[in-house]
């Protein structure tokens, strides 16, 4: 009871402080209130730190509070407007979903669950609440690779459902950490964010990552009835000690910030680690030092050279129909930069060539390719091979956090490049993951997932031995376990037939026997387009190499584009996943593709025949054309008409 009162008190305090600051102009509002230099030379951010109550911080405070980016940065920058930006607005109902991107992946190895989650309405991704995940739990799991804001501070906004079990009151809010992107300091330590979230020190995360002070302890160690207004925290609870050397004589701190965000900042959340082909997982992993990265970075650009945003932080994602009618968004697509946007009023946007981007004429490539393929289809991602490759990502696999034993064989199993046709009838490379989860079939045949905790609670006898399973010692589910768990999940009074979905296969019980089916919509893979790393032009599909025609990069009878294999990887034993050719996922006619491949074998002969034929016809035309001309002149001289006996 006391704990509950403390929570309410804490929330009310935060809400009141926010209201008061908004009233007094403590948070910057519209653009007219901003403190601006209007110079290209950056403003030196030697500034006072403020805590969440808007009180200035000094290093010798007796009970120092963590600095609040909302109060500190929000003094001059429109924190509220920035909070509507793409990196923070996923859970806002009014925020556009946009093109499907990388979701969060719920991975629960004991129950064999790997499922895509997103607050955005992306086809194939589930709302976290469907799996029983609250916003607090989402922050606890994935806050490590979030810049804060959004659901990290929604309880104070009063927008989310109350979660009485969530320790927001003691952990504080995970505010937008502006430095997560804008820090130019080499000592900015994003791993501290994960560490502080793990310790439920949400409000302390920005201070720790910036290195302004040392944070020890955890709010987990606060007593249940702890009241922040009256109680002194125990010694092992969260303690902050500011680094006095970072404060000047006026208690100001230097923020090493930049608008030209270095790629390394983006990479913390957007790194990928490309693994082996899915049919050669026993082979040696790729040597990362051989990777050359994105050609744009090699040319001196950074991520934000193209992925730009204004004060609203609606970052340009860079696809063609991202913001229809917005010439600026269109200007920073691949085509927008390299070729311009002919429909733009601004001549600079219309001409293209931005940032010195070269303009290729793509000689020899039929124009149809530019209507049916995205630029990334030929230019982005690892060069396709006979099978797709496994890939790990920072968001899915926690790359960026130090780990001595990070396995490659670690769900979720993501593959790339997988060439598919999008809803816009354009082919592009994707990343792909086959969901695995337990669910119940509704009356309309739809599958509603079950939370892993519910599955484990009900099917403890079947799955209990798997409790506590770690990635390094992960084992697939046995079919016997699936059958036993499905039997346990069956409800005698109806409530929906339990099913388990994995690797594109739906497992269900029929007369107490385990049966498998394919083709269920819920079992379809989750896919999202990949656009990086962009390869140099010589390594584009269609460029050809070693005297082999570039056409054969895709139009050979065994080309990776159409005939490359994708593994239907699930979490079920035996782990020999079915290999599906990409044309099957595209829905393309294999016979037609085979015929096309065959036709390219005859293409050289066709060219030779064509050239010889054209030569012969040209010679005949030349020889007889002169005679024909003379006849025409003669006929005209006679007053026209055909020769006698030569009627039309």
């Amino acid at each position: 009871m006391i704990h509950g009162r403390a929570s309410i008190s804490w929330v009310l305090l935060l809400a009141a402080a926010r209201f008061a600051l908004a009233q007094e102009g403590g948070l910057a509002g519209d653009a007219t209130e901003l403190l601006l230099t209007d110079s290209l030379s950056p403003f030196v951010h030697r500034i006072t730190l403020y805590d969440a109550d808007g009180v200035a911080i000094a290093p010798d405070d007796i009970h120092p509070k963590p600095y609040s980016p909302a109060r500190t940065c929000g003094k001059c920058h429109p924190y509220g407007a920035i909070g509507d930006g793409w990196h923070f607005n996923a859970a806002r109902p009014e925020a556009p979903a946009g093109r499907p991107g990388e979701p969060w992946f719920l991975v629960d190895l004991p129950t064999g669950t790997q499922a895509p989650l997103s607050y955005r309405d992306w086809p194939g991704a589930w709302d976290p609440a469907v799996f029983g995940l609250t916003e607090w739990e989402m922050i606890e799991r994935f806050g490590r690779h979030q810049p804060g804001g959004g659901i990290g501070e929604r309880p104070a906004d009063g927008e989310s459902e109350p979660d009485p079990d969530a320790p927001w009151a003691t952990a504080g809010r995970l505010e937008i950490d502006c430095l997560a992107c804008h820090s130019a300091a080499a000592g900015f330590d994003q791993t501290q964010r994960a560490e502080q979230i793990a310790q439920r020190n949400l409000a302390w995360a920005p201070t720790a990552t910036a290195g302004f002070g040392i944070v020890r302890g955890s709010t987990k160690n606060l007593p249940a009835d702890f009241n922040p207004d009256f109680d002194t925290p125990p010694a092992d609870a969260t303690q902050l000690e500011y680094d006095a050397t970072q404060f000047d004589a006026n208690d100001r701190v230097f923020f090493d910030v930049t608008r030209g965000i270095p790629a390394e900042r983006c990479y913390f959340c957007h790194t990928t680690r490309v693994d082996r082909p899915v049919d050669d997982l026993a082979g040696a992993p790729p040597r990362r030092w051989l990777s050359e990265g994105d050609v744009h970075l090699a040319a001196g650009l950074s991520c934000v050279s193209c992925h730009r945003n204004g004060l609203d932080h609606q970052i340009v994602r860079g696809y063609a129909d991202e913001r229809p009618g917005d010439p600026f968004a269109q200007a920073f697509t691949c085509a927008g930069c390299h070729y311009g946007n002919a429909e733009a009023d601004d001549p600079a946007l219309a001409r293209g060539g931005r940032l010195g981007s070269p303009r290729s004429d793509h000689p020899g490539i039929p124009p149809l390719h530019f209507e049916e393929l995205s630029c990334t289809a030929c230019h982005a991602g690892p060069l396709p091979g006979e099978t797709a490759r496994r890939v790990q990502t920072a968001m899915a696999h926690g790359l960026g956090l130090a780990d001595r034993h990070r396995p490659y064989d670690d769900p979720p199993f993501i593959q790339e490049p997988v060439f598919l046709e999008g809803d816009d009838d354009v082919y592009r490379p994707y990343r792909l993951m086959w969901p695995s989860f337990w669910g119940r079939v509704g009356t309309a045949g739809e599958v509603t997932p079950l939370a892993p905790e519910e599955v484990m609670g009900t099917a403890r006898a079947a799955l209990g031995a798997r409790r506590g399973m770690k990635p390094a010692a992960w084992q697939p589910l046995e079919t016997g376990q699936i059958a036993e768990a499905l039997a346990a999940l069956a409800e005698p009074d109806g409530g929906g037939e339990p099913v388990y979905i994995s690797g594109g296969v739906t497992y269900r019980l029929s007369d107490d026997a385990l049966t498998t089916e394919t083709g269920w919509a819920a079992a379809a893979p989750y896919t999202w387009p990949l656009a990086h790393d962009v390869r140099p032009a010589a390594q584009a599909l269609g460029a050809g190499s070693g005297g082999v025609s570039g056409c054969l990069d895709c139009h050979a009878p065994d080309s990776p584009f159409y005939f490359g294999k994708v593994a239907a990887e699930g979490l079920v034993a035996p782990r020999r996943a079915a290999l599906l050719p990409m044309h099957m996922l595209m829905g393309e006619d294999a016979k037609l593709l085979g015929a096309w491949g065959l036709s390219f074998a005859w293409r050289t002969l066709l060219k030779v025949i064509g050239l010889i034929s054209a030569g012969v016809i040209a010679v005949v035309l030349a020889l007889y054309g002169a005679a024909g001309g003379r006849w025409l002149l003669r006929s005209c001289g006679r007053g026209g008409g055909a020769d006698p006996g030569e009627g039309i």
């Binding site: 000689p363 020899g364 054209a614 012969v616 005949v620 035309l621 007889y624 055909a642």
Partner: protein
């Protein structure tokens, strides 16, 4: 726009054949000039192959894609290219075999209309072959390729119209 051209061509060919049949009603066929029968047979085979190539390419290109306003792809494009592979050498052979007999001012067997059609078929065919295989080489950029394809399509339409009129005249005069 190309669809308009197709419709205009259909109207023009229909008008031309109708007008010609009305104006030349009652006239008899011309007499065939002497030519070794083997060559005559070979010429007829080439002529039929040319017509087959034009027909198939026209069906896939003009009807399958042009009238529908969609780009050529799939089996249609495969057939189109295959038809081109037959059409080009057949037209070259026909040019060699029939050029002399279609010389303007030469005596029978072909009428002036047939001769004009023949030379137009050769000219359009040459353009079509060059614009057909040209894009297969790394010569033309995207915009140039679009232009080349447009030329190919319009030359094809002209060839198709000429071929139809040539067939009509050949049937009318039995001069092949």
């Amino acid at each position: 726009m190309f669809r308009l051209w197709i419709l205009a061509t259909i109207v023009a060919v229909t008008l031309a054949t109708t007008l010609h049949s009305v104006r030349t009603a009652g006239r008899g066929p011309g007499a065939a000039a002497p030519l070794p029968s083997r060559l005559r047979r070979l010429g007829r085979v080439c002529y039929l192959l040319v017509l087959a190539g034009v027909g198939l390419a026209g069906l896939t290109g003009v009807v399958g894609a042009g009238l529908r306003g969609v780009p050529m792809e799939g089996y249609g494009l495969l057939l189109h290219v295959a038809a081109g592979g037959v059409f080009a050498p057949a037209l070259a052979a026909l040019a060699v075999l029939w050029a002399d007999r279609n010389r303007f001012g030469s005596p029978q067997p072909f009428s002036l209309g047939q001769k004009i059609c023949f030379w137009m078929m050769l000219a359009c065919g040459l353009v079509m072959i060059l614009t057909g295989i040209g894009p297969m080489f790394r010569l033309f950029g995207t915009e140039a390729q679009r232009a080349v394809i447009a030329i190919h399509r319009h030359a094809a339409l002209a060839l198709l119209a000429t071929a139809i009129f040539h067939i009509y005249l050949s049937v009318r005069y039995r001069g092949v």
